[in-house]
């Protein structure tokens, strides 16, 4: 399974050859990875420096000048630090741009909360004219990027360091459409991006306990596929959402809102409810946030069997 960052570099190189307007701005990150693009198109690659808000404003100016900017750096700095520039310089002005981040949630698991963000996805979804993607594999990212990067809207692509290892065929990946990965009757497990891995591990363990879960996979946060969750929950009457995002304003909020009026026996939220102050591996972070397979299986089991 190739990394999403590597896929990003290959994608830029390929698209850069075909598209003279594609211009890349990075905030002192990925310059090794993107060196092929830099050598091929020195006039369309800028390592701007460590000044994310001005980099976003600069990108808006380049958009006005006719380029299609791809702006890339670490998620909390690209989105949370530069949010007013994204909101005003792109959103208010009605300009399109492609924001590509790494280090979302707690991917930098040993670096502390300065390098975490649990809110970037919902913040980007707040903007009119935005699309928000949380791909869990390089293939998904490539498909979603190609389907959207020229749409003159604000696109946010959040590249995980922890792909879910599931290979969908490209034809199954369509922006804004959730994928039913496994059908089941007892509970709907909706997973966002990389959390599909934990969702499928949990589903397997639940099956051993006689619980038949349906797994719904979201790679697109906005536009949100409401119909998919409605259809599934009408059958199972139980929602369990798995996301590396804040418990406020994330996948669970969208799912619950979509299911207004449907009889629901339980709504289980697996999400981040506080700063994760501990260090360790990605798995350690999942345990800290109550997002590990074991925690999820126990909670769902207790709920379904009570």
């Amino acid at each position: 399974m190739s990394s999403l960052r590597k896929a990003f570099a290959e994608l830029l190189l390929k698209n850069g050859k075909l598209d003279q307007d594609l211009i890349v701005l990075v905030g002192d990150i990925s310059h090794g990875l993107l060196s092929e693009f830099r050598f091929a198109f020195p006039d369309r690659y800028f390592n701007i420096g460590i000044c994310e808000p001005a980099m976003v404003g600069l990108a808006a100016g380049l958009r006005i000048a006719g380029f299609n900017p791809v702006i890339h750096t670490i998620a909390p700095f690209l989105i949370e630090r530069s949010y007013e520039q994204i909101k005003l310089d792109f959103g208010y002005q009605g300009l399109g741009g492609n924001f590509v981040s790494v280090g979302g949630s707690f991917d930098y698991s040993k670096l502390g909360c300065s390098h975490h963000t649990y809110s970037d996805v919902s913040m980007m979804a707040q903007l009119p004219n935005s699309n928000v993607f949380v791909p869990g594999s390089s293939k998904e990212f490539t498909e979603l990027f190609n389907q959207n990067y020229k749409n003159n809207e604000i696109n946010y692509f959040r590249l995980t360091e922890n792909p879910h290892d599931i290979e969908f065929s490209p034809g199954d990946i369509s922006s804004g459409e959730a994928i039913v990965v496994k059908e089941g009757n007892d509970v709907t497990i909706a997973a966002l991006g990389p959390m599909l891995k934990v969702a499928l591990e949990s589903t397997k363990k639940l099956a051993e306990q006689g619980i038949d879960a349906e797994v719904l996979y979201y790679h697109t946060f906005k536009p949100f596929d409401s119909q998919a969750i409605i259809k599934s929950v009408k059958k199972t009457n139980r929602i369990a959402t798995l996301e590396e995002l804040s418990i406020i304003g994330g996948l669970n909020s969208l799912a619950l809102e979509a299911c207004t009026g449907i009889s629901i026996k339980s709504n289980l939220k697996f999400a981040v409810s506080n700063f994760i102050r501990s260090y360790g591996s990605y798995l350690d972070m999942l345990i800290e946030a109550n997002l590990s397979t074991e925690q999820i299986v126990n909670t769902i089991m207790n709920d379904v069997k009570k």
């Binding site: 800028f46 600069l58 006005i64 000048a65 006719g66 002005q93």
Partner: protein, 259 residues
Amino acid sequence: MSDTLRMRIVEMIVESGEGHIPSSFSIVDIIDYLYSHVMNYNVENISSLSGDVFILSKGHGAAALYVVLEKIGAVSKDSLRQYGKPKGLLGGHPERFKNKQVMASTGSLGHGLPIAAGIALGGKLRSNSSRVYCLLGDGECQEGTVWEAANIAANQQLNNLIAIVDWNGSAKQLMPYEDLEARWSAFGWNVVRGYGHRYSDLDLAFSQYLNNSTSKPTVLILETVKGKGSKLVEGHGIWHHKIPDSEELKIIMKDLINE
């Protein structure tokens, strides 16, 4: 100094009940001079990057921009009449989305210069010979993104970018500093000092800039008077965002006639 434009500013602000008179008075001569004597543009397509472009980063001085755009025929008298009204296209800060004559939407300070730098960089990449002018306030120069953009512009050698600082002393009311020239210079900019109200002063300042042939971006730091033209509104007091009543309006108009 243009009294006619100042009267027009007051008229439109009083008519709509919204606007910043002293800030507009501070910059109207500079904007008028730019569009009348410095910039190359096609008035039918004023935002085209084949010509020079202007960004008002201190967006609250919007009225000064609008009256100059009206003067050169880029916006209509009717547009100004609708300023700040429900069906109007022009508001209290310049907005690009609804007005093709406006190069960048501003309002929150510190946004104009990064955008201007991006347009200037794009122009260079397209081998375009046009220039990008960006007007900032001296108070605005307390925003971090101004200096982030100043760094970027110097690093990218954007000698087609010209920042103009309306040095009307607003910063002194807040976080005083006297070394603005040294700051821009330390950031790698070509610095020109001057005065921002009289035609002859502006001519002098701009001639120094136009003779510059370095790879550096240029900043013109122009001393101005906030509220210039009417003693009533001059300075940094309550008039910043105040709308005159009928008696005050008479005094302001009288001041402008006597100026």
